[in-house]
């Protein structure tokens, strides 16, 4: 009788142990997705990862932002599953990848459209890309040179560490130096705040941050909105990529994560960060 009880106890203990350690064992086999690359696309990847992990227990996603070039390098070396890039892969990167047996496939997850904004009282309606560049490089310093009142232009820029700055630099500045008079602020919201309280200011923000308190300028005569940005007619816009090694197997975790941008929730996330979704539902 006593022995029987002991055996029963042992079985019970084993059962309890099994139940407690099962999740740990499962967790050890958890699917892991490693993402590396652009600081511009990084926020999207991070928000997607956060959402995806909250919906799917047992998936572990790490996101680092070391720049588009480093993302490509990581993908080629096989140290990441997704390389986030704010530009397309260069020829030599493609070649290096194929040489290593990696076949990069691009997925455009959203479009980065940057609106040039001014104070609502500013009479200027639009500028050309060249004029915007001349303002930011310090060649044009007064609003009267672009059809406005005779006041000095206050240049507001994002900090050089941000993806928005990086986009603006590559799409507008064209390798020229930004003026040393430019004031730097730490977020898209802060740019808007400075511009709405400064009549002589000019700034730039992700399209999602434009609201009634500021005026978005036409650039090359095209008003920035979701339609013109996704159609490509608005000039200060670029697609944001996620590169994978081959197209992920349908039904895999990587596949469903990569296609998060197609879901309504994914579009909501993209919009909340200030980018423009590719699709509309």
């Amino acid at each position: 009788m006593n022995r029987f009880r002991n055996v029963l106890m042992c079985i019970a203990l084993a059962a309890v142990l099994c139940v407690t350690f099962m999740p740990v064992a499962l967790f050890a086999q958890a699917t892991k997705i490693v993402i590396d690359g652009s600081t511009t696309v990084g926020p999207i990847a991070k928000a997607f990862a956060e959402y995806y992990m909250s919906k799917n227990a047992g998936v572990n996603i790490t996101v680092s932002e070391s720049g588009s070039g480093n993302g490509a390098k990581s993908l080629i070396n096989g140290t990441c599953d997704i390389a986030t890039m704010s530009r397309f892969m260069k020829d030599e990167e493609f070649k290096a990848a194929v040489d290593k047996g990696v076949f990069p496939v691009a997925t455009v997850v959203s479009v980065d459209g940057i609106a040039v904004i001014v104070h609502p009282s500013c009479p200027v309606q639009g500028l050309s890309v060249d004029q915007v560049r001349d303002i930011y490089t310090g060649k044009i310093t007064n609003w009267k040179d672009v059809g406005g009142p005779n006041v000095a232009i206050v240049i507001i820029s994002r900090d050089t560490n941000s993806g928005t700055y990086e986009s603006f630099e590559s799409l507008v500045l064209n390798k020229q130096k930004i003026s040393d008079k430019a004031e730097y602020v730490g977020s898209n919201g802060a740019v808007r705040e400075r511009v709405q309280s400064t009549p002589a200011a000019i700034g730039y923000v992700g399209l999602g941050f434009v609201d009634k308190t500021v005026k978005a300028l036409k650039v090359n005569n095209i008003m920035p909105d979701e339609a013109t940005v996704t159609s490509g007619s608005y000039p200060i816009a670029r697609p944001l990529f996620m590169f994978t090694n081959g197209y992920p197997k349908m039904g895999s975790t990587l596949y469903s994560f990569l296609n998060l941008y197609l879901t309504p929730k994914g579009q909501e996330i993209v919009k909340a960060i200030g980018f423009v979704p590719i699709t509309k539902y």
Binding site: T160, N161, D180, K181, E183, Y184, S197, A200
Partner: protein, 374 residues
């Protein structure tokens, strides 16, 4: 002889061991802060030195071209050093006179009951988080300075200069009239008062006219930050120097009054000199608070890496060391370990070295003034 006081040898040994253990523990605890400081120094040095190896010192200290994200990058931090210095100078101009005068007022002029209420209120300023100050500077002060900066400056000039002129004209007329024989004194006093007062008011009005015409293009500038940093440094300066003034003691003050000194003479010639080292410590603490503040300058100084022209023009945006470190520190650079990452540590090293030198100087001054007093 001593043995008679001790109960037994064992107890004595136990006691000695206990004392040894206690003192070792205390030494270890006390030295932990020193060790922490050494570690901070070591780690900042370790990440700062690669920058000087990669880019050299010359460009860092002499150039004003700050383009860390360009290719090729430029790391001229001179304008950033100037920005930090300018903001700190501005904050000291706001906080030091105001703080010391407020401390004098609290310790020697206000009645005790008022002081008991006023001091905690001033110290409350220290409890407000710096991001709140930053938000205030960005959302309230910046548009205000933009819209009516000149008027504000003129009002400030009146507030500071009018009492100053009043006191100095009274004192001057007193001195001048005392040189004259008795019966001429009253007319001479009135005449000097009228002349000096007229001159003072004229000068103030002229200044107001000039200031009113000023156009401030951007509200996030060195002036905005200086004022806010000055307010932030104020509680430190007031509190510490008020303590110093209080510790001078009643005897010295009463001795001074007994010798026939007036209250002003007692304050200026007895109390303040006696509390000098404490006031100096208060000023240095306040200045360190201003130079080390990050959030406010990052939000409201404009962050343009450019030396204002002329250099004392506080109405132009500046970029400070602390804001640069906070704003440029991204995860991105840590991975690659580039010069762009290490330059921030080089700046941190400069800040740390400056704080260290300031502390040494204050220590030296305090010690010397103590020696002089004997």
């Amino acid at each position: 002889m001593q043995d008679q006081l001790v109960i037994s040898k064992g107890a004595r040994r136990f006691k000695r061991l206990g004392a040894l253990f206690g003192s070792t523990l205390l030494v270890a605890l006390a030295s932990s802060s020193v060790i922490a400081l050494l570690f901070i120094f070591y780690f900042i040095m370790r990440d700062a030195l690669p920058f000087f190896r990669l880019e050299g010192v010359r460009e860092f200290l002499t150039s004003t071209h700050w383009y860390p994200s360009r290719d090729p990058a430029e790391f001229g931090a001179l304008s950033i050093f100037v920005g930090s210095a300018l903001v700190t100078l501005g904050a000291s101009i706001v906080a030091v006179p105001l703080g010391i005068l407020a401390a004098l007022c609290l310790s020697d002029i206000l009645p005790f009951a008022v002081r008991q209420v006023a001091k905690p209120i001033i110290e409350m300023l220290a409890a407000i988080p710096s991001v709140v100050y930053g938000f205030f500077a960005l959302v309230v002060l910046a548009p205000l300075i933009q819209a009516r900066g000149g008027t504000l400056l003129a009002a400030g000039a009146w507030m500071v200069l009018a009492p100053l002129f009043l006191v100095s004209t009274t004192v001057a007329s007193d001195i001048v009239s005392s040189r004259f024989p008795q019966r001429l004194r009253t007319p001479v006093r009135i005449a000097t008062l009228a002349v000096l007062g007229g001159l003072g008011i004229g000068a103030l009005l002229a200044l107001t006219g000039v200031l009113n015409r000023l156009v401030v293009s951007s509200g996030t500038n060195a002036l905005n930050v200086s004022v806010v940093l000055g307010i932030m440094a104020l509680p430190t300066i007031v509190s510490v120097s008020e303590d110093a003034l209080n510790s001078v003691g009643r005897e010295l003050r009463e001795g001074s009054y007994a010798l026939g000194a007036t209250r002003a003479e007692t304050l200026l010639k007895v109390v303040v000199p006696a509390a000098r080292s404490g006031i100096l410590a208060a000023v240095i603490l306040g200045v360190m608070r201003a130079i080390g503040e990050t959030m406010v300058v990052w939000m409201a100084s404009g962050n343009a890496a450019r030396i204002p022209s002329p250099w004392f023009n506080l109405l132009q945006p500046v970029r400070t060391l602390t804001a640069t470190i906070a704003g440029d520190m991204g995860e991105a650079d840590q991975v690659t370990g580039s010069a762009r990452y290490h330059v921030l540590f080089a700046m941190a090293l400069c800040l740390l070295a400056f704080a260290f030198i300031m502390n040494l100087v204050s220590e030296y001054v305090v010690r010397r003034s103590r020696k002089m007093r004997g």
